[in-house]
């Protein structure tokens, strides 16, 4: 089972690249030129988020080293233990729907502290990959058409997030 999961996971990216490159060649596109053109866009993305990352890594790193996160976790630990929720993941689960860049900082922090390939590290990775910055998305989409009455969108989107986080945890427990 684990071998199969690893196989599919490892196959996904190479297969997608292979299909795209072959497709481009068959349709007689300048594959390499287009690749370079897109890669330049990639630089812009990273440069754009770099200052945000510095600021948020500072905030998250000092929250941990000062001991504040430990205290917060101690406070909610009894509650989390009842539902068998891994306490180490809690800061990520709370921040994920609110801010994309700060959840990157928290996830990186968790992976560094518990090991990137440990069960907790993999859980953090899967949660990051499977969920979105819900509140930000709702705000951008609603305000673009100047709507303030959002009806049930928040409940629906947060349900998706909660299910996503819980499934991530269960899948990772099952795999390791």
């Amino acid at each position: 089972m684990i071998e199969f999961v690893n196989f599919v996971s490892n196959l996904a990216m190479p297969l997608m690249i292979l299909i795209i490159v072959i497709y481009g060649l068959l349709e007689k596109k300048e594959v390499f030129d287009k690749f370079i053109e897109g890669a330049k866009e990639g630089i812009k993305i990273v440069i754009n988020i770099f200052p945000t990352l510095i600021g948020l890594f500072l905030a998250v790193g000092t929250l941990r080293s000062s001991g504040v996160i430990d205290i917060a976790i101690q406070l909610i630990e009894p509650l989390l233990n009842i539902v068998h929720f891994p306490t180490e993941i809690m800061p990520l689960a709370l921040l994920r729907p609110i801010s994309g860049s700060s959840s990157i900082a928290v996830a990186t922090d968790i992976m560094k502290n518990f090991g990137v390939d440990s069960q907790i590290g993999i859980m953090a990775s899967v949660i990051m990959g499977a969920t979105e910055t819900t509140l930000y998305t709702i705000a951008v989409y609603s305000s673009s058409v100047k709507i303030k009455k959002t009806r049930f969108v928040l409940i629906a989107a947060l349900t998706a997030d909660i299910v996503g986080i819980i499934t991530s945890i269960i899948v990772c427990r099952f795999l390791s």
């Binding site: 490159v21 690749f35 990352l53 998706a160 996503g164």
Partner: protein
Amino acid sequence: MLNLVWPIFIIISFSYAIFSGNLQNLNSSIFESIESAVNLSITMLGTMCLWSGIINVAQNTSIIQVINKLLKPIIKFLFPEIKGNPKAQDEISMNMVANILGLGNAATPLGLKAMESLQKENKNKKELSNSMIMLIVLNTASIQLIPTTIIAIRSSLGSENPTSIIFPVWIATICAGVAGISVTKLFMKYTNKREKL
């Protein structure tokens, strides 16, 4: 949002560290944090450039149209209220393609265009319509084939197998997406009934 959260984080952790005499740790963690942000960005630069390049190749081929066609029946099921609006259907489909391929930067403008078209059909311009809510839920569900950012982070931290998370991510995303769509559909049924009464 961050204009409030960021200063609160800084104030809480710095003042707690000062009062608990944890100053040495605080100082070293300031520089460690900055360093790891730099390290992450440098590794991310590679993955992001590679992936943006590959996706740009895809954008210039007919793969986009192929996926578009595959999505048509799904869109008909999710957005029954926009049957007579092919323009909105196309925009929603392009938004989904961009999401699936992990083109966050392209997905948002396409999604916002679709919101505009949906607003034209919206009966009550001050409230989100059912189709708008479905579109937003789909965009918050993060349905993507390759979670590039997290793979970049994992490889920057020296993971032995950075891509091992792809399949688990698919399972979790699909569950999240199905949950979001089901809740939305349920609410739609309930509110439609109430309107008829």
